[in-house]
Symmetry: C3
Subunit: 136 residues, 3 copies
């Protein structure tokens, strides 16, 4: 089998520790937990797309997508999305945003499985998502 | 490799968003987070098997099993179970229920690995479980 | 594909329920959630390496490593590490400890992806980590 490759989109900030934003080995691709940070700007700290769930959900999904694409995959290859929210009161709104996002993506395969749980996240962050993909 | 297939047992309620209860692609099968909902009844909202950990744990495991079987797999194929509880005080009882359940399943292979953490879940739900399986 | 094999390092305490510390099937290896318990001593209950994040983080990573090695894998094969902390205030220190640990491991491949979330853990435990590896 092939080596493990780090997936580092140019839009992404440097990880804050010795981990990769994503890795691919053979046909398995794992995306690290993504949050709603805007594309990285040289010399500036990571900045969320905005304070709202709406802004952060869309940006988080876009950040997952960038890593999938860096590894030659797309949403159709994703088997599992883990969604971490901070507030059970956000579930309905997140689902609306999630459905709207994926309606735009033109999936040709069934959507991924998903688990949503409610955890603590760093201050100001309302959502985090990671993904496991299996390529053809 | 084969296409990604959605796994939707007839007992399951429609997912509340654009995700699959389970997906299989090649020999990898991922089960979405399951909770203790009873088999779906047309026109009725999802209903937990009961208010207790005992009722919900057994139903949740049965819901995971239904998805595994829909994909041609069984407990022996499961590599990892993620158990989400809401209260650290439930750990001992969940383990008793877990052991009793699997003692009935007649596993011929070693049990899956497991991680148990304590998170928030929607009101009334005490346990959620998801699973990763690798088929022969 | 081969059977599923349980991975049980001699250093590990018996799991408190019907799960495996790790399993391998084919080229997929899953490590169960590890905490900072010291190597098992016959007849004694599991004991954390110490009360601090520093002590527990190192021991937890060593416990993950023992399971990887039992399955013929190493850190270079790890695709994903899930880090569960109990306090967002521990993130910076955990990253320092994490970086120092992996700097010593002499990785020849890119580091694994990672998700860090903040959950409840049993009293006295500050960190839990599980791992998914894909072997060559």
């Amino acid at each position: 089998m092939s080596d493990k490759t780090a997936l580092t989109p140019s839009t992404h900030t440097t990880p804050p520790a010795a981990f990769s934003h994503g890795v691919r080995k053979g046909n398995i691709l794992q995306v690290a937990g993504q949050v709603g940070f805007l594309p990285a700007v040289e010399g500036q700290p990571p900045t969320p797309a905005g304070p709202t769930l709406r802004e952060q959900t869309r940006q988080t999904l876009e950040n997952v997508r960038a890593i999938l694409e860096e590894g030659g995959a797309g949403w159709d290859d994703v088997m599992m999305l883990r969604v971490y929210l901070t507030d059970t009161g956000h579930f309905a709104e997140m689902n609306e945003l999630y459905n709207a996002y994926f309606a735009e993506q033109g999936l040709r395969q069934p959507p991924a499985a998903r688990t949503t749980v409610y955890v603590g996240l760093p201050a100001g962050l309302l959502i985090e998502i990671d993904a496991l993909a299996v390529l053809d």
